[in-house]
Protein backbone atom coordinates (compact mmCIF):
# COMPACT_ATOMS: atom_id res chain seq x y z
CA UNK A 1 0.00 0.00 0.00
CA UNK A 2 2.79 2.36 1.03
CA UNK A 3 4.79 1.77 -2.14
CA UNK A 4 1.68 1.84 -4.28
CA UNK A 5 0.91 5.30 -2.99
CA UNK A 6 4.49 6.46 -3.59
CA UNK A 7 4.37 5.14 -7.12
CA UNK A 8 1.04 6.83 -7.70
CA UNK A 9 2.45 10.19 -6.64
CA UNK A 10 5.61 9.57 -8.63
CA UNK A 11 3.66 8.71 -11.76
CA UNK A 12 1.48 11.77 -11.44
CA UNK A 13 4.46 14.10 -10.95
CA UNK A 14 6.31 12.59 -13.89
CA UNK A 15 3.25 12.91 -16.10
CA UNK A 16 2.97 16.57 -15.23
CA UNK A 17 6.67 17.26 -15.62
CA UNK A 18 7.07 15.42 -18.88
CA UNK A 19 4.00 17.15 -20.24
CA UNK A 20 5.57 20.53 -19.56
CA UNK A 21 9.16 19.39 -20.15
CA UNK A 22 10.51 22.79 -19.25
CA UNK A 23 12.00 21.78 -15.90
CA UNK A 24 13.98 18.75 -17.03
CA UNK A 25 15.27 20.56 -20.09
CA UNK A 26 16.38 23.58 -18.14
CA UNK A 27 18.06 21.37 -15.55
CA UNK A 28 20.03 19.55 -18.24
CA UNK A 29 20.96 22.68 -20.15
CA UNK A 30 21.94 24.42 -16.96
CA UNK A 31 24.23 21.57 -15.92
CA UNK A 32 25.96 21.37 -19.30
CA UNK A 33 26.21 25.12 -19.60
CA UNK A 34 27.70 25.43 -16.16
CA UNK A 35 30.13 22.66 -16.97
CA UNK A 36 31.34 24.59 -20.04
CA UNK A 37 31.42 27.78 -18.03
CA UNK A 38 33.67 26.20 -15.39
CA UNK A 39 36.02 24.87 -18.05
CA UNK A 40 36.35 28.33 -19.57
CA UNK A 41 36.87 29.99 -16.23
CA UNK A 42 39.58 27.53 -15.27
CA UNK A 43 41.11 27.81 -18.70
CA UNK A 44 40.78 24.11 -19.48
CA UNK A 45 44.32 23.44 -18.41
CA UNK A 46 44.36 19.70 -17.86
CA UNK A 47 47.02 19.77 -15.16
CA UNK A 48 45.22 22.51 -13.27
CA UNK A 49 41.84 20.93 -13.70
CA UNK A 50 43.07 17.63 -12.31
CA UNK A 51 43.10 19.24 -8.88
CA UNK A 52 39.55 20.50 -9.07
CA UNK A 53 38.13 17.78 -11.27
CA UNK A 54 35.76 16.49 -8.61
CA UNK A 55 34.35 19.96 -8.13
CA UNK A 56 33.91 20.58 -11.84
CA UNK A 57 32.13 17.27 -12.12
CA UNK A 58 29.81 17.76 -9.17
CA UNK A 59 28.98 21.44 -8.91
CA UNK A 60 26.86 21.57 -12.08
CA UNK A 61 24.96 18.48 -10.98
CA UNK A 62 24.30 19.76 -7.47
CA UNK A 63 23.24 23.20 -8.62
CA UNK A 64 20.88 21.84 -11.22
CA UNK A 65 19.45 19.52 -8.58
CA UNK A 66 18.89 22.61 -6.46
CA UNK A 67 17.09 24.19 -9.39
CA UNK A 68 14.83 21.17 -9.45
CA UNK A 69 13.88 21.13 -5.77
CA UNK A 70 11.84 24.28 -5.80
CA UNK A 71 10.33 23.83 -9.24
CA UNK A 72 9.55 20.12 -9.14
CA UNK A 73 6.03 19.55 -7.94
CA UNK A 74 5.15 23.20 -8.33
CA UNK A 75 1.82 21.94 -9.68
CA UNK A 76 1.13 20.83 -6.16
CA UNK A 77 0.99 24.40 -4.92
CA UNK A 78 -1.08 25.79 -7.75
CA UNK A 79 -4.54 24.88 -6.50
CA UNK A 80 -3.35 23.91 -3.05
CA UNK A 81 -3.34 20.30 -4.20
CA UNK A 82 -0.96 19.44 -1.35
CA UNK A 83 -3.90 19.92 1.00
CA UNK A 84 -5.83 17.49 -1.17
CA UNK A 85 -3.08 14.96 -0.57
CA UNK A 86 -3.03 15.61 3.16
CA UNK A 87 -6.78 15.14 3.45
CA UNK A 88 -6.62 11.81 1.58
CA UNK A 89 -5.82 8.66 3.57
CA UNK A 90 -2.21 8.63 2.41
CA UNK A 91 0.85 7.94 4.49
CA UNK A 92 2.94 11.10 4.44
CA UNK A 93 6.11 9.06 4.25
CA UNK A 94 4.77 7.80 0.92
CA UNK A 95 4.47 11.39 -0.27
CA UNK A 96 8.13 11.92 0.61
CA UNK A 97 9.25 8.74 -1.11
CA UNK A 98 7.28 9.54 -4.27
CA UNK A 99 8.76 13.02 -4.49
CA UNK A 100 12.24 11.74 -3.70
CA UNK A 101 12.08 9.18 -6.52
CA UNK A 102 10.81 11.76 -9.00
CA UNK A 103 13.51 14.29 -8.18
CA UNK A 104 16.09 11.55 -8.20
CA UNK A 105 15.08 10.39 -11.66
CA UNK A 106 15.52 13.93 -12.96
CA UNK A 107 18.92 14.30 -11.34
CA UNK A 108 20.00 10.93 -12.73
CA UNK A 109 19.05 12.07 -16.21
CA UNK A 110 21.14 15.19 -15.65
CA UNK A 111 24.04 13.00 -14.45
CA UNK A 112 23.79 10.74 -17.48
CA UNK A 113 24.17 13.72 -19.80
CA UNK A 114 26.46 15.93 -17.76
CA UNK A 115 29.13 13.37 -16.81
CA UNK A 116 29.98 12.26 -20.38
CA UNK A 117 30.22 15.94 -21.28
CA UNK A 118 32.75 16.28 -18.48
CA UNK A 119 34.95 13.56 -19.97
CA UNK A 120 34.47 14.85 -23.48
CA UNK A 121 35.65 18.35 -22.70
CA UNK A 122 38.50 17.33 -20.45
CA UNK A 123 39.76 14.81 -23.01
CA UNK A 124 40.21 12.47 -20.12
CA UNK A 125 41.05 8.87 -20.61
CA UNK A 126 38.29 6.71 -19.27
CA UNK A 127 38.31 6.72 -15.47
CA UNK A 128 40.02 3.68 -14.09
CA UNK A 129 37.60 2.73 -11.37
CA UNK A 130 34.40 3.28 -13.22
CA UNK A 131 32.56 1.21 -10.63
CA UNK A 132 33.54 3.55 -7.83
CA UNK A 133 32.59 6.56 -9.91
CA UNK A 134 29.13 5.19 -10.68
CA UNK A 135 28.65 4.21 -7.06
CA UNK A 136 29.59 7.71 -5.92
CA UNK A 137 27.41 9.38 -8.52
CA UNK A 138 24.46 7.24 -7.48
CA UNK A 139 24.73 7.62 -3.73
CA UNK A 140 25.96 11.20 -3.88
CA UNK A 141 22.96 12.40 -5.86
CA UNK A 142 20.66 10.29 -3.72
CA UNK A 143 21.87 11.84 -0.47
CA UNK A 144 21.69 15.38 -1.75
CA UNK A 145 18.25 14.91 -3.27
CA UNK A 146 16.91 13.25 -0.11
CA UNK A 147 18.11 16.17 1.98
CA UNK A 148 16.77 18.69 -0.53
CA UNK A 149 13.34 17.13 -0.95
CA UNK A 150 12.94 16.80 2.79
CA UNK A 151 13.62 20.45 3.50
CA UNK A 152 11.93 21.85 0.41
CA UNK A 153 8.67 20.05 1.12
CA UNK A 154 8.73 21.06 4.76
CA UNK A 155 9.59 24.64 3.88
CA UNK A 156 6.78 24.85 1.36
CA UNK A 157 4.22 23.57 3.81
CA UNK A 158 5.46 25.92 6.55
CA UNK A 159 5.35 29.09 4.45
CA UNK A 160 9.12 29.48 4.53
CA UNK A 161 10.49 31.02 1.37
CA UNK A 162 12.37 28.88 -1.13
CA UNK A 163 15.21 31.34 -0.82
CA UNK A 164 16.16 29.85 2.53
CA UNK A 165 16.37 26.28 1.26
CA UNK A 166 19.95 26.45 -0.10
CA UNK A 167 21.07 28.22 3.06
CA UNK A 168 19.58 25.37 5.07
CA UNK A 169 20.81 22.41 3.09
CA UNK A 170 24.37 23.37 2.14
CA UNK A 171 25.80 23.47 5.68
CA UNK A 172 24.08 20.19 6.47
CA UNK A 173 25.48 18.65 3.30
CA UNK A 174 29.13 19.31 4.14
CA UNK A 175 29.87 15.70 5.16
CA UNK A 176 28.23 14.52 1.96
CA UNK A 177 30.27 16.92 -0.17
CA UNK A 178 33.50 15.86 1.45
CA UNK A 179 32.70 12.20 0.92
CA UNK A 180 31.72 12.55 -2.71
CA UNK A 181 34.60 14.84 -3.64
CA UNK A 182 37.11 12.49 -2.03
CA UNK A 183 35.60 9.38 -3.60
CA UNK A 184 35.35 11.04 -7.01
CA UNK A 185 38.99 12.05 -6.81
CA UNK A 186 39.90 8.47 -5.98
CA UNK A 187 37.84 7.20 -8.88
CA UNK A 188 39.34 9.62 -11.37
CA UNK A 189 42.97 9.36 -10.22
CA UNK A 190 43.28 6.01 -8.52
CA UNK A 191 46.81 6.73 -7.28
CA UNK A 192 45.50 8.13 -4.02
CA UNK A 193 43.63 5.33 -2.35
CA UNK A 194 43.52 6.17 1.32
CA UNK A 195 40.60 5.74 3.60
CA UNK A 196 38.26 4.80 0.80
CA UNK A 197 36.23 2.48 3.00
CA UNK A 198 35.78 5.24 5.53
CA UNK A 199 34.30 7.56 2.93
CA UNK A 200 32.05 4.87 1.54
CA UNK A 201 30.85 4.23 5.06
CA UNK A 202 30.16 7.91 5.62
CA UNK A 203 28.32 8.22 2.32
CA UNK A 204 26.15 5.17 2.97
CA UNK A 205 25.43 6.26 6.52
CA UNK A 206 24.46 9.74 5.42
CA UNK A 207 22.12 8.34 2.78
CA UNK A 208 20.44 6.01 5.22
CA UNK A 209 20.00 8.78 7.78
CA UNK A 210 18.43 11.26 5.39
CA UNK A 211 16.25 8.73 3.60
CA UNK A 212 14.87 6.79 6.54
CA UNK A 213 14.42 9.64 9.03
CA UNK A 214 12.14 11.73 6.77
CA UNK A 215 9.99 8.68 6.00
CA UNK A 216 9.02 8.54 9.65
CA UNK A 217 9.24 12.23 10.46
CA UNK A 218 6.99 13.37 7.65
CA UNK A 219 3.86 12.00 9.24
CA UNK A 220 4.51 14.03 12.38
CA UNK A 221 5.82 17.12 10.67
CA UNK A 222 3.18 17.69 8.04
CA UNK A 223 0.30 17.65 10.48
CA UNK A 224 -0.61 20.88 12.11
Amino acid sequence: MFFKQSLLILKRDLKIEFRNKSLLLSMIIFAVLFQVFLQIVFDANIEAIKKIAAGVLWIPILLSALLGFSKYGIAERENDALTGLLIAPVDRGAIFLGKLLGNLLFVFIVVIISVPVFFLFLKQPFPESIGLLLFTLFLGSWGFVALGVFFTTLAQSSSITDLLVPIMIFPLAVPLFLAISQLTEMALYPSIVMGQDLWVLLLVGYNILFTIAPLFLFDILLEV
Partner: protein, 233 residues
Protein backbone atom coordinates in the same frame (compact mmCIF):
# COMPACT_ATOMS: atom_id res chain seq x y z
CA UNK B 1 -18.55 12.56 14.24
CA UNK B 2 -18.42 14.29 17.56
CA UNK B 3 -16.68 17.49 18.56
CA UNK B 4 -16.33 18.03 22.27
CA UNK B 5 -15.37 21.38 23.61
CA UNK B 6 -13.09 22.06 20.65
CA UNK B 7 -11.08 25.24 20.60
CA UNK B 8 -8.55 26.28 18.02
CA UNK B 9 -5.98 29.02 17.93
CA UNK B 10 -4.03 29.88 14.82
CA UNK B 11 -0.95 31.98 15.44
CA UNK B 12 -2.15 32.50 18.98
CA UNK B 13 -5.36 33.98 17.66
CA UNK B 14 -8.48 32.19 18.88
CA UNK B 15 -10.47 30.99 15.89
CA UNK B 16 -12.81 28.47 17.46
CA UNK B 17 -14.05 28.55 21.04
CA UNK B 18 -15.43 25.51 22.82
CA UNK B 19 -17.41 24.05 19.96
CA UNK B 20 -19.72 21.14 20.77
CA UNK B 21 -21.18 19.52 17.73
CA UNK B 22 -22.63 16.13 17.01
CA UNK B 23 -22.74 15.03 13.43
CA UNK B 24 -24.95 11.98 13.14
CA UNK B 25 -24.56 9.56 10.30
CA UNK B 26 -26.35 10.83 7.19
CA UNK B 27 -27.24 14.15 8.72
CA UNK B 28 -27.08 17.32 6.65
CA UNK B 29 -25.89 20.34 8.61
CA UNK B 30 -25.81 23.91 7.37
CA UNK B 31 -22.95 25.91 8.82
CA UNK B 32 -23.74 29.60 8.63
CA UNK B 33 -22.10 32.77 9.75
CA UNK B 34 -20.37 35.92 8.62
CA UNK B 35 -16.90 36.03 7.10
CA UNK B 36 -14.23 35.12 9.59
CA UNK B 37 -16.66 33.44 11.95
CA UNK B 38 -14.58 30.25 11.84
CA UNK B 39 -16.67 28.18 9.43
CA UNK B 40 -13.79 27.10 7.23
CA UNK B 41 -11.58 26.40 10.23
CA UNK B 42 -14.25 24.19 11.71
CA UNK B 43 -14.37 22.21 8.46
CA UNK B 44 -10.60 21.88 8.54
CA UNK B 45 -10.79 20.50 12.06
CA UNK B 46 -13.44 18.01 10.97
CA UNK B 47 -11.28 16.95 8.03
CA UNK B 48 -8.41 16.40 10.54
CA UNK B 49 -6.32 18.88 8.62
CA UNK B 50 -6.09 21.04 11.71
CA UNK B 51 -5.82 19.65 15.20
CA UNK B 52 -7.83 21.41 17.88
CA UNK B 53 -5.70 23.27 20.39
CA UNK B 54 -7.90 21.93 23.17
CA UNK B 55 -10.89 19.63 23.20
CA UNK B 56 -11.50 16.39 21.41
CA UNK B 57 -12.79 15.11 18.13
CA UNK B 58 -14.18 11.61 18.05
CA UNK B 59 -14.56 9.58 14.88
CA UNK B 60 -17.83 7.68 14.49
CA UNK B 61 -18.01 4.16 15.86
CA UNK B 62 -14.36 3.68 16.55
CA UNK B 63 -13.21 4.45 13.03
CA UNK B 64 -9.47 4.86 12.71
CA UNK B 65 -8.08 8.12 11.42
CA UNK B 66 -7.23 6.64 8.03
CA UNK B 67 -10.65 5.04 7.78
CA UNK B 68 -12.33 8.35 8.56
CA UNK B 69 -10.25 10.11 5.95
CA UNK B 70 -11.14 7.54 3.33
CA UNK B 71 -14.86 8.07 4.00
CA UNK B 72 -14.57 11.81 3.65
CA UNK B 73 -15.20 13.90 0.55
CA UNK B 74 -14.13 17.51 0.60
CA UNK B 75 -14.90 20.63 -1.45
CA UNK B 76 -12.81 23.57 -0.28
CA UNK B 77 -12.40 27.01 -1.85
CA UNK B 78 -9.24 25.72 -3.51
CA UNK B 79 -9.99 23.07 -6.11
CA UNK B 80 -6.96 20.76 -5.44
CA UNK B 81 -6.81 20.13 -9.20
CA UNK B 82 -3.68 19.72 -11.34
CA UNK B 83 -4.15 22.06 -14.25
CA UNK B 84 -1.76 20.34 -16.66
CA UNK B 85 -3.58 17.04 -16.26
CA UNK B 86 -6.89 16.30 -17.97
CA UNK B 87 -10.11 16.14 -16.02
CA UNK B 88 -10.13 12.38 -16.34
CA UNK B 89 -6.54 12.03 -15.13
CA UNK B 90 -7.32 14.21 -12.15
CA UNK B 91 -10.25 12.07 -11.08
CA UNK B 92 -8.35 8.86 -11.72
CA UNK B 93 -5.49 10.08 -9.55
CA UNK B 94 -7.73 11.05 -6.67
CA UNK B 95 -9.67 7.82 -6.89
CA UNK B 96 -6.48 5.77 -6.74
CA UNK B 97 -5.27 7.90 -3.88
CA UNK B 98 -8.24 6.57 -1.92
CA UNK B 99 -7.28 3.04 -2.92
CA UNK B 100 -10.01 2.50 -5.49
CA UNK B 101 -10.18 1.83 -9.20
CA UNK B 102 -13.63 2.05 -10.64
CA UNK B 103 -13.91 3.49 -14.12
CA UNK B 104 -17.67 3.33 -14.16
CA UNK B 105 -17.81 5.47 -11.09
CA UNK B 106 -15.66 8.11 -12.82
CA UNK B 107 -17.93 8.05 -15.86
CA UNK B 108 -20.94 8.39 -13.64
CA UNK B 109 -19.54 11.34 -11.73
CA UNK B 110 -18.60 13.07 -14.95
CA UNK B 111 -22.17 12.63 -16.10
CA UNK B 112 -23.52 13.94 -12.84
CA UNK B 113 -21.59 17.19 -13.06
CA UNK B 114 -22.16 17.41 -16.80
CA UNK B 115 -18.51 17.39 -17.84
CA UNK B 116 -18.37 14.14 -19.85
CA UNK B 117 -17.59 15.92 -23.04
CA UNK B 118 -14.45 17.68 -21.82
CA UNK B 119 -13.02 14.95 -19.62
CA UNK B 120 -10.07 14.39 -21.93
CA UNK B 121 -9.09 18.04 -21.98
CA UNK B 122 -6.61 19.68 -19.70
CA UNK B 123 -7.99 21.44 -16.66
CA UNK B 124 -6.21 24.68 -17.56
CA UNK B 125 -8.59 25.03 -20.53
CA UNK B 126 -11.63 24.85 -18.24
CA UNK B 127 -13.68 27.84 -17.21
CA UNK B 128 -13.99 28.71 -13.53
CA UNK B 129 -17.40 27.09 -13.23
CA UNK B 130 -16.16 23.93 -14.93
CA UNK B 131 -13.23 23.72 -12.53
CA UNK B 132 -15.58 24.08 -9.60
CA UNK B 133 -17.77 21.31 -10.98
CA UNK B 134 -14.74 19.13 -11.46
CA UNK B 135 -13.70 19.85 -7.89
CA UNK B 136 -17.13 18.64 -6.80
CA UNK B 137 -16.74 15.54 -8.96
CA UNK B 138 -13.34 15.02 -7.33
CA UNK B 139 -14.96 15.00 -3.92
CA UNK B 140 -17.48 12.36 -5.01
CA UNK B 141 -15.19 10.09 -6.96
CA UNK B 142 -14.29 7.72 -4.13
CA UNK B 143 -17.91 7.44 -2.98
CA UNK B 144 -17.55 9.12 0.42
CA UNK B 145 -20.18 8.75 3.07
CA UNK B 146 -19.42 12.12 4.66
CA UNK B 147 -19.00 15.38 2.79
CA UNK B 148 -17.50 18.66 3.88
CA UNK B 149 -18.58 21.42 1.52
CA UNK B 150 -17.13 24.92 1.79
CA UNK B 151 -19.15 27.24 -0.44
CA UNK B 152 -19.58 24.63 -3.17
CA UNK B 153 -22.03 26.84 -5.06
CA UNK B 154 -19.45 29.56 -5.54
CA UNK B 155 -18.77 30.27 -9.20
CA UNK B 156 -21.54 28.00 -10.46
CA UNK B 157 -24.19 29.22 -12.87
CA UNK B 158 -27.85 28.64 -12.16
CA UNK B 159 -28.08 25.40 -14.13
CA UNK B 160 -25.08 23.91 -12.36
CA UNK B 161 -26.44 25.01 -9.03
CA UNK B 162 -29.62 23.06 -9.67
CA UNK B 163 -27.58 20.05 -10.71
CA UNK B 164 -25.54 20.16 -7.52
CA UNK B 165 -28.63 20.66 -5.39
CA UNK B 166 -30.26 17.65 -6.94
CA UNK B 167 -27.08 15.65 -6.49
CA UNK B 168 -26.82 16.53 -2.82
CA UNK B 169 -30.46 15.65 -2.15
CA UNK B 170 -30.05 12.37 -3.95
CA UNK B 171 -26.88 11.51 -2.01
CA UNK B 172 -28.56 12.44 1.23
CA UNK B 173 -31.33 9.96 0.48
CA UNK B 174 -28.67 7.30 0.03
CA UNK B 175 -27.41 8.03 3.52
CA UNK B 176 -24.58 10.43 2.77
CA UNK B 177 -24.32 13.19 5.33
CA UNK B 178 -22.78 16.55 4.71
CA UNK B 179 -21.77 19.79 6.35
CA UNK B 180 -22.54 22.68 4.07
CA UNK B 181 -20.91 26.06 4.55
CA UNK B 182 -22.75 28.79 2.73
CA UNK B 183 -23.47 32.45 3.05
CA UNK B 184 -26.80 31.97 1.30
CA UNK B 185 -28.84 30.86 4.26
CA UNK B 186 -32.16 30.45 2.45
CA UNK B 187 -30.49 28.13 0.02
CA UNK B 188 -28.79 26.14 2.75
CA UNK B 189 -32.08 25.90 4.64
CA UNK B 190 -33.57 23.95 1.75
CA UNK B 191 -30.79 21.46 1.70
CA UNK B 192 -30.20 20.73 5.36
CA UNK B 193 -31.78 19.13 8.40
CA UNK B 194 -30.14 21.37 10.93
CA UNK B 195 -28.58 24.82 10.89
CA UNK B 196 -25.69 25.93 13.04
CA UNK B 197 -24.78 29.59 13.31
CA UNK B 198 -21.21 30.53 14.11
CA UNK B 199 -20.16 33.91 15.34
CA UNK B 200 -16.60 34.70 16.36
CA UNK B 201 -15.73 31.06 16.66
CA UNK B 202 -18.66 30.18 18.88
CA UNK B 203 -21.86 28.35 18.13
CA UNK B 204 -24.55 30.90 18.94
CA UNK B 205 -27.58 29.19 17.51
CA UNK B 206 -28.64 25.68 16.62
CA UNK B 207 -32.02 24.96 15.10
CA UNK B 208 -33.72 22.37 12.91
CA UNK B 209 -34.39 23.64 9.40
CA UNK B 210 -38.13 24.06 9.05
CA UNK B 211 -40.13 26.87 7.59
CA UNK B 212 -41.23 27.94 11.04
CA UNK B 213 -37.75 28.35 12.37
CA UNK B 214 -36.48 30.18 9.31
CA UNK B 215 -38.03 33.54 10.06
CA UNK B 216 -36.83 33.74 13.64
CA UNK B 217 -33.43 32.53 12.55
CA UNK B 218 -33.18 35.21 9.88
CA UNK B 219 -34.02 37.91 12.37
CA UNK B 220 -31.28 36.87 14.69
CA UNK B 221 -28.86 36.27 11.86
CA UNK B 222 -29.33 39.75 10.53
CA UNK B 223 -28.85 41.03 14.03
CA UNK B 224 -25.44 39.41 14.18
CA UNK B 225 -24.52 40.69 10.78
CA UNK B 226 -25.45 44.25 11.74
CA UNK B 227 -23.41 44.07 14.87
CA UNK B 228 -20.51 42.86 12.84
CA UNK B 229 -20.80 45.77 10.44
CA UNK B 230 -21.15 48.14 13.30
CA UNK B 231 -17.91 46.81 14.68
CA UNK B 232 -16.01 47.23 11.49
CA UNK B 233 -16.96 50.81 10.81
Amino acid sequence: MQLKNVSLAIEDKPVLRSINLNWAHGEAIALLGANGAGKSSLLKVMSTLLHPSTGKTTMPEGMSLQKWKSKLGVVFPETFLYSSLTGYENLLFYQKLYGKTDNEQIEQVFNQVNLSRVQQERVETYSKGMKQRLAIARAFVHQPTHLLLDEPFDGLDLASKTILERLLKEKNKQGVGYVLVSHDSAHAWDLCDRAVLLHNGKIVLETPCTEKTYRSFMNQYQGWLKEKQHDVF
